[in-house]
């Protein structure tokens, strides 16, 4: 082996080493809080502040206690209902709007789209009070409607994501459908929508996660335990002067689990959708 080849191999090995070290460090930073919470969920109250990752005597009873202290399954079903309805609505309305902005030709289309996109810059804190007043006016506070309806009719982000994806589909597909006699609705529903699965998966996973993790809106809207989502349930585990941290951690782990499962199932389609929609940073 020549010295030049040896040097090239050495350099590439060093580069790979540096890259993997950086990646492992970043992955560790992302995973450590979850591992710490998992560790905390298996400790007792005395051990919770000790810097030990693997507890010497795992306290599985913490998990059982979660079900005693809060109506977990009731809240779980509530959260599934809210996340499911909002996700279905977001996918339907965002794809419909994305199709219109990507494919239909009408006066002022691009200006309207930019204006809609600009709403992304308005922070939640600005809109939360008007939304609260709106819900109160409708008499929807402390009802499931307040958790479903505001997020049902799409979002600027979802519309943008779907529009980007619709733009990647061949124009001829739509033209063939038009010549086959399809109306714009039929072009959308029967020809183009079946091809948007990767983008739909991205939008669905992101929406589901957002609704699942949402805390501020349910805190403002919901008071009854029977219609509370899981995030509000966590609050009930926190006392005013002291909290049972291991139980709180166990509840957090239980709430996190469905999200991890959903992401694991949809991972491939999710990543493909991110890449195809131009959200991959490339």
């Amino acid at each position: 082996m020549s010295s030049l080849t040896a040097r090239v191999i050495k350099l590439s090995v060093l580069r790979a080493l540096a890259l993997y070290t950086a990646l492992i460090a970043m992955a560790w930073c992302a995973l450590f809080p979850i591992l710490w919470a998992l560790s905390g969920s298996l400790k007792n109250q005395a051990e919770i502040t000790e810097p030990v990752l693997i507890p010497p005597h795992p306290q599985w009873a913490n998990y059982a206690e979660v079900f005693q202290l809060m109506p977990f399954w009731r809240m779980f079903l509530n959260t599934v209902l809210y996340a499911g309805c909002v996700t279905a609505g977001q996918v339907f309305f965002c794809s419909l709007a994305g199709y219109a902005f990507a494919r239909l030709r009408f006066r002022g289309r691009d200006v309207l789209f930019l204006a809609y996109l600009a709403t992304l810059m308005v922070p939640l804190t600005v809109t939360v009070i008007p939304q609260f007043i709106l819900m109160r006016t409708f008499g929807w506070t402390d009802t499931p409607w307040s958790m479903i309806v505001p997020g049902l009719f799409g979002s600027a982000f979802g519309t943008y994501l779907m529009r980007q994806f619709f733009r990647t589909l061949p124009k001829e597909l739509e033209e063939a459908a038009i010549l086959d006699g399809c109306s714009p609705w039929q072009v959308y529903w029967r020809v183009l929508l079946p091809h948007t699965r990767p983008a739909v998966m991205v939008l669905a996973v992101l929406t589901w996660m957002t609704v699942w993790n949402d805390f501020l809106w349910p805190l403002l809207m919901i008071q009854r335990n029977s219609i509370s989502p899981l995030t509000l349930g966590l609050v009930h585990l926190q006392g005013q002067y002291a909290s049972k941290w291991p139980v709180l951690m166990a509840a957090s782990m239980l709430i996190l689990l469905p999200l991890v499962i959903i992401y694991a199932v949809a991972q491939r389609a999710f990543i493909r959708g991110i890449a195809l929609s131009g959200f991959g940073g490339r």
Partner: protein, 361 residues
């Protein structure tokens, strides 16, 4: 089946300095196979899309039969289109693709099945009906795209370069199939291509477009033998016609040392002229313009020699100009040799040295 008429049809794209299609006047007969041909950007696909209703008509009228369809929706025009990339619906099977238009039109399921089967038999696609487009070869996809058009039994078939995605061998095979299928069905067909061999071999008539303007529309043989201008002469034929811009001196022009007499009517009107000679009208002879052979293409039945004119003692204006000739493969000269090429009398074309390049007779 129906006639198709373009009457002063124009299309201007926003920001373009010239119309994509400029006052096209063209009538296509009932059952005729018309080929629109021309280089990229000549307006051939635009014309087809205007006829389909996929492009707006800025001026003029388009008729299908006696009906003015200028502002009609594509679905109301009763036309079927075969796209360059076939545009098959990937999530549907071949049978679903072929029957989709009928399903949208709410035709009875039994009728859809019968018509799809008829078309599949015609195109030898019976074995593919349950497969999806991704599981088909290029040739099969092309046939499905044809089948999708046939099933609808439209008044007009529109085909936008349907062979350009196929390999060379399949292209030759499929173009014969399309031409014979069209004769069999007798449906009026407008076919767009940039390939002049396709145009010559498939069409009843060929319309040559350039920069959005119709140059000539005629039967392929007429177009080849009697081109109206230098563009048509140069575009139709492979290899292309040899064209030389030469000064007229004493009622003749000289190609190397070979003098070509010019008719008086032409010689009296301009100081120079564009002379056109097809490769098959040049004979290797002891006489004629001397060339140095650079490349010999032996095609088996014929050979084409590509060379450059050698500067003559009397004339240097044509020195180094490229020239191509078709010769008998048995007597093809070797590369690097010098031969004399003599134009066949009566097969020399003259064109005005002017942007119109009009044929001079």
């Amino acid at each position: 089946m129906a006639t198709v008429g373009f009457e002063q049809a124009s299309r201007r794209y926003h920001g373009a300095d010239r119309p994509a299609l400029d006052r096209l006047d063209l009538t296509i007969g009932d059952g005729e196979f018309l080929v629109l041909v021309g280089p990229s950007g000549c307006g051939k696909s635009t014309s087809l899309r205007m006829l389909a209703g996929l492009e707006t008509v800025d001026d003029g009228v388009i008729r299908i039969g006696a009906r003015d369809v200028t502002g009609a929706d594509p679905k109301d025009r009763d036309v079927a289109m075969v796209f360059q990339n076939f545009a098959l619906y990937p999530h549907m099977t071949v049978a679903q693709n072929m029957g989709f238009a009928l399903k949208v039109a709410r035709v009875r399921k039994a009728d859809i099945r019968d018509r799809v089967l008829d078309a599949a038999r015609l195109l030898h696609l019976e074995a593919c009906l349950d497969r999806r487009p991704k599981d088909l070869s290029g040739g099969e996809r092309q046939r499905v795209a044809m089948g999708r058009a046939i099933v609808r039994r439209p008044q007009v078939f529109l085909m936008d370069e349907p062979l350009s995605n196929l390999d060379a061998k399949l292209r030759v095979q499929t173009r014969t199939q399309i031409a014979s299928l069209q004769r069999q069905l007798g449906t009026t067909t407008v076919y767009v291509t940039h390939d002049q061999v396709e145009a010559m071999t498939m069409g009843d008539r060929v319309a040559v477009l350039r920069d959005g303007v119709l140059q000539q529309c005629a039967a392929p043989r007429e177009l080849y033998r009697d081109p109206i201008n230098v563009f048509v002469a140069g575009f139709m034929g492979s290899p292309a016609m040899n064209l030389f811009t030469l000064p007229i001196l004493n009622q003749s022009v000289s190609l190397g040392d070979w003098m070509i007499p010019i008719p008086r009517e032409i010689a009296d009107t301009a100081p120079d002229v564009v002379v056109g000679i097809r490769p098959e009208h040049l004979e290797v002879d002891g006489l004629g313009a001397e060339i140095e052979v650079e490349v010999v293409e032996d095609l088996g039945s014929d050979a084409f020699i590509y060379g450059r004119l050698v500067a003559g003692a009397a004339n240097t204006t044509t020195a180094d100009k490229p020239i191509v000739a078709r010769v008998d493969w048995r007597s093809a000269p070797n590369r690097g040799t010098r031969v004399h090429l003599r134009p066949s009398p009566g097969h020399i074309y003259f064109f005005a040295n002017h942007p119109t390049g009009i044929r001079l007779r």
